[in-house]
Structure formats: C-alpha cells, structure tokens
C-alpha cells in the first residue's frame, strides 16, 4: 500500500533523473543508512560488528568494484583479490613511509595504486576478450601475490610479507574499537557506493554497458573502446583497492599477501553472481549472503545433525553449497538477489490489484 508512485509526476528531466527517482526509494535509502549509522552501533555487539557487519561492508565495496568491471563493462576478472592486496599494501606503505599521512588519504592512495596496476593488467583487454581475458586476470592474481611476498620492501622486510596495520587516527580521534571502525567503514563504503551509482547512471556507465552489450556497435557510435575499458579497469581496481585497505585496517589488522588468494577472488565473483550482475544494490546483497552463509552453516548444521558431523564435513558442505548455489542462481535467476528484490518491489507497486 505504501509503495506507490502514483501522484509523483515528474515535471522536469532533472526530477526524472534523480539518483532514486521514486520518493519511497529515497526515504528507504535514507532510513537504511540512518539505521546502520545510528541504531546498529548502539545495539550490535562486538561479534556482530567485527565478524559480520564490517566484512559485509568491505566485501560489498569489493563486489561493487568487480561489478563495475564485469557487470557493467562486461570484462570478466578472476583477480579482484590481488587488487585488494595492492590497495592494502599501498595504504600500509603510505602510512609507514610518510609522516603524518592522513588515514583517509592513505587508503585513497592505496586505491590509486590498485587502479594503476589494474590499468596495466587491463591493457590486454584491448586485444582479447571473454575467457582469454579471464585467464589474463589470473596472471594478475598470481603475479601480484608473488611480487608482494618476494619484494620485501612492500612489507617493510617482515617475514613472508605479513603486515600489521597501523592505528587509525583521524583529526586526533583514535578509531580503535569495533564501533568506531564500523562507522568509519560504513562512511567510506556508503560514499563510494553512491559515487558508483552516479557513475553507472551517466555517460561513463552507459559507455561501459554499450561495450558490454555490443562492442562493435559501441565503436561505431564513437565510443572509444580503449578508453572505456581502461576506465572500467581503473575504477574497478580502485574500488577493490580501497576495499583491500579497509580489509587490512578496519577488519583483519594483520594481513599477508597469501590471504588475498584466488579463493577470495572467487568469493567476490560469487557475491556478484548471487547478488546481481550489473547492480550496485546487488553487490551489498551478495556480500551479505556470502559472508553470512558459512556462519549460518557453522551454526545450524551441527545444531541439526548434532555430533555426527566433523568440522571438515561442514567445510566441504560449504564448498558444495557455494557451488550448488552458483549453478542454481545462474539457471534460475541470472540477475541474482537484486532482481528478486526488484520483482518484489514491482509486485508491491501493483498490490493489491495485480492486474
């Protein structure tokens, strides 16, 4: 009943081109942000903040990054985790080597490093597409992790490349508890998600989608393939890089390059498949799903089956459930949870008279 756009007439193109054109959506987003910014820190306990909310936010950001490249620009990447690693190690080195480096600037610079590396590994996309490109991004995955381990300067000569994130301090305030870290993460992720939403609904985003849907036609109407693809690689890697920096600073604390392995890249890919390829909203849904699923399995499977099951059984079950869900979603709902959400909204719009 409440979700109606009747009576909301758009009198100008400006009104029609708002970021959320439907009033209820605008209110909904504001309420959602308000809820997560004000209510959640008051009521959520440490475990929820540290083990669920912060990682969900960080992975959402990485998933937005991959979604920009794969979902919007149509270039499949299997190396997202490596770009996260570049962001984490980049931010670490800026903090370490430059006195008085502000934290937010450091993570942005970390993201910028990732963007540069992303463009380098995106160059082959000008010649190759599809599976070939996917294999090329595997090169980035393996090479970057190797380089961060072997070139000891990156980790300030620690053994096997482990780094420990410095304390975060912004304007004299120390972000040391889970609450403040959560709020900081939330702030960065929300701002960047809104920026991403803006990008995908403007010429930049349309060019990406044009290249994704039909590159020959895109070129014929004057879209520069090289510039468009490389922009997608740069922006995508930037997002992954910032996510990686947050991963190190507000989530794990101590990270090693091997932590950003192929498995993590696959996880991010799964987030966008399940959440929704080509949807910012879907990136959040997918990240939440993929973070929560193993936790749910860990809790509920022993509860249901009792002591019959070992922990290795649960971890195998995780593989099976992940794999099965991917196949299931690709078959049943290739646009993922975001589409289900959208269908729900459309139903609601017509409810209670569906015809």
């Amino acid at each position: 009943m409440l979700y109606r756009e009747a009576g909301q007439f758009k009198a100008s193109y400006e009104a029609d081109q708002q970021i959320f054109p439907i009033l209820q959506d605008r209110i909904g987003v504001l309420l959602l942000i308000g809820f997560f910014a004000l209510a959640v820190p008051l009521f959520a306990d440490q475990y929820w903040l540290k083990a669920i909310l912060i990682p969900v936010l960080i992975f959402s950001l990485a998933a937005i990054g991959l979604n920009i490249l794969t979902g919007y620009a149509g270039q499949l990447s299997l190396g997202s985790a490596a770009f996260m690693a570049v962001g984490a190690f980049g931010a670490y080195n800026f903090m370490l080597r430059i006195d008085g480096m502000p934290f937010l600037v450091a993570i942005l610079l970390g993201g910028l490093c990732a963007a540069l590396v992303g463009v380098m590994f995106g160059l082959p996309s000008l010649r190759i597409k599809g599976f070939y490109l996917a294999v090329a991004t595997l090169a980035a995955q393996f090479f970057i992790v190797w380089a961060l381990v072997k070139i000891e300067w990156f980790s300030n000569y620690s053994s096997s490349g482990v780094i420990t994130a410095q304390e975060i301090e912004i304007l004299g305030f120390a972000f040391d508890g889970p609450q403040s870290k959560y709020l900081l993460t939330l702030f960065v992720v929300v701002v960047m998600a809104l920026l991403a939403k803006n990008m995908v609904r403007s010429t930049t985003g349309r060019s990406w989608m044009a290249v994704r849907d039909m590159d020959v036609a895109a070129e014929v109407i004057g879209i520069r393939l090289m510039r468009t693809k490389l922009t997608a690689f740069a922006v995508s890697s930037f997002y992954c890089g910032v996510a990686g920096a947050l991963y190190a600073y507000t989530y794990i604390g101590t990270v090693e390059p091997e932590g950003f392995n192929l498995d993590l890249s696959f996880k991010i890919l799964f987030m966008i498949i399940i959440g929704g390829v080509g949807s910012i909203m879907g990136s959040f849904l997918g990240a939440a799903f993929i973070v929560l699923l193993p936790i749910a399995l860990d809790v509920f499977v022993p509860m249901l089956l009792g002591d019959l099951v070992s922990s290795s059984f649960v971890s195998n079950l995780q593989l099976i459930v992940f794999g099965g869900l991917i196949v299931f979603f690709l078959i049943v709902e290739p646009h993922g949870l975001a589409r289900l959400w959208q269908i729900g909204k459309e139903k609601l719009r017509l409810w209670p008279f569906p015809h």
């Binding site: 193109y13 029609d16 803006n198 403007s202 989608m209 994704r212 849907d213 070129e219 004057g222 879209i223």
Partner: protein, 260 residues
C-alpha cells in the same frame, strides 16, 4: 522539395575487400552527394553490408581509397567516422540489449558530452546540467520517432519493428551529417515499413541528412532514392537514377538470374 542535392561528399574509388581467400568486394567505385538518398541494392551476398562497413571503418579494404569531405584515406577507425558525422544502423539490430530505450539513444550522443568520469561520479553542477541538456535532445528524437510510451523499456523486450526504430533513434541522436542504414525495413509489415519510410524521408528533408540505404524492397528503393548502386557478387553492375537502373539489362539479369 526543401532540400537541394549538393556536391559529392563521399567518394569510394577502386575498393577491394577480401576475407582470407573470399573476395567480398572487387574494384568498386561510386560517390554520394550531400543531402541525397543513395541506395545500394543487390542480391544476398552481393557485398552491400561490407560496403557500408568499409565506409565507416569497421572493415579495412585491401585496395582503394575513400574520400570523405575532401579528406582522402585508405581506411578508417569506426570512432573517427562517428566523429566526422557518420552514423550507422545494422542489419541484425545492434542495440545495447541490457539498457533502456532512453539510455540507448543517450549513448548516441556520447561524442557531444564532455564530462569525464570524475564529474559523473559526483553528478554535480556541470555533469548534471549536461545530462539534462542531452536528455532534452534525446526526448526530441523520441518525439520525432513517436516512441514516447516505451522510453523506459529495456530494448531487449521490444518487438523487432520498434527495435529498428530505436536503433534509428540512436543514430539520429548523434545529429549526423550522413547516415548509413542497413536494411532498416527488413522483416517489417506494410504499416511499419510506411512509418520507417516516412521517418527516413523526414530526416532527409528536415535535417538535410545524407542517407546511404541498403534495402531489399524494390518498391521502396525506387520510390525514395535519388540514385541507386547495384552490386552483384562483389562487383558493381549498375549505377544511376532509379529508372535508369530499372532498365539496365545487367541488373535485370542479376535479379532474374538469367546470366552466370
């Protein structure tokens, strides 16, 4: 008529194109004058689409040269052709299937938009004003083509005839000086054909857009064209005004299949 046929703006000379061992075009020359409707006809596999692809740089001919507005060149990059005002539609609709009608037509204006990715991310001031300004232009195209009611529909869901119309809209949105239309009426019923004819004539008449047209419906071609080129097996067998071409014995032979 409001329009007046002007000078030659596009000249193709001795164009030969082959794929591996297969010759698609052999030593073809013809020209296109400003503001005219120039048709390319011929049986299936005659090399008509290849010809268009050479004009706007999708294919690169092995021999010959292309002169567009005085600039002589051997081949072309497609986005440069777009920059010089050549727009194009495709035989097998090349719309961006995942996007709405508005977004598809908006992409047609990409060359006229100057903001970069940073402006877009902020969507403030300049980027916003630009977006709205171009949206207005796109709405003009939408009004012209009478597709207001489907403007927010994803193009993948539209029937074939409407998709063709949207593709014409995307080409029009670029405000081109020349449009290459590859079988814009293929697979349409009579009413749809009439609409499409009207749009093409209106574009030509109101905006003075030069049109190079590939079409199989001889009735339409002979009606609306100023001049016609006939290709067969990659070779030119006729060139001239519709009546002239109609009575050309080689053309009749090619269509009735009496020779070879």
């Amino acid at each position: 008529m409001a329009r007046e046929i002007g000078d030659v703006i596009l000249k193709m000379e001795g164009i030969s194109l082959s794929f591996g061992g297969v010759k698609a075009l052999t030593n073809i020359s013809f020209d296109v004058r400003e503001h005219e409707i120039r048709s390319i006809i011929g049986p299936n596999g005659a090399g008509k689409s290849s010809m268009l692809n050479v004009i706007n740089g999708v294919y690169h001919p092995q021999e010959g040269q292309v002169t567009f507005r005085g600039e002589v060149r051997r081949d072309m990059e497609p986005h440069k052709a777009a920059k010089q005002g050549i727009a194009r539609t495709f035989q097998n609709i090349a719309l961006f299937k995942g996007m709405s009608v508005i977004d598809n037509i908006m992409t047609g204006r990409n060359l006229k938009m100057k903001c970069n990715v940073f402006h877009h991310a902020l969507h403030w001031g300049k980027a916003r004003a630009e977006e709205i300004e171009h949206r207005k232009k796109v709405e003009e195209v939408i009004d012209f083509l009478e597709i207001q009611n489907i403007r927010k529909t994803p193009v993948g869901r539209l029937p074939y005839g409407l998709q063709k119309r949207v593709e014409l809209g995307r080409a029009l949105a670029a405000e081109p000086s020349m449009m290459l239309l590859d079988e814009p009426m293929a697979g349409m019923n009579v009413e749809e054909k009439q609409d499409m004819c009207r749009f093409i004539l209106d574009v030509n008449d109101q905006f003075g857009t030069t049109i190079v047209l590939i079409e199989h419906d001889m009735g339409v071609v002979m009606d609306i064209s100023d001049r016609v080129v006939v290709l067969d097996y990659g070779k030119k067998i006729g060139d001239g005004e519709p009546d002239e071409v109609k009575n050309n014995p080689d053309v009749i032979a090619a269509y009735l299949g009496t020779s070879h």
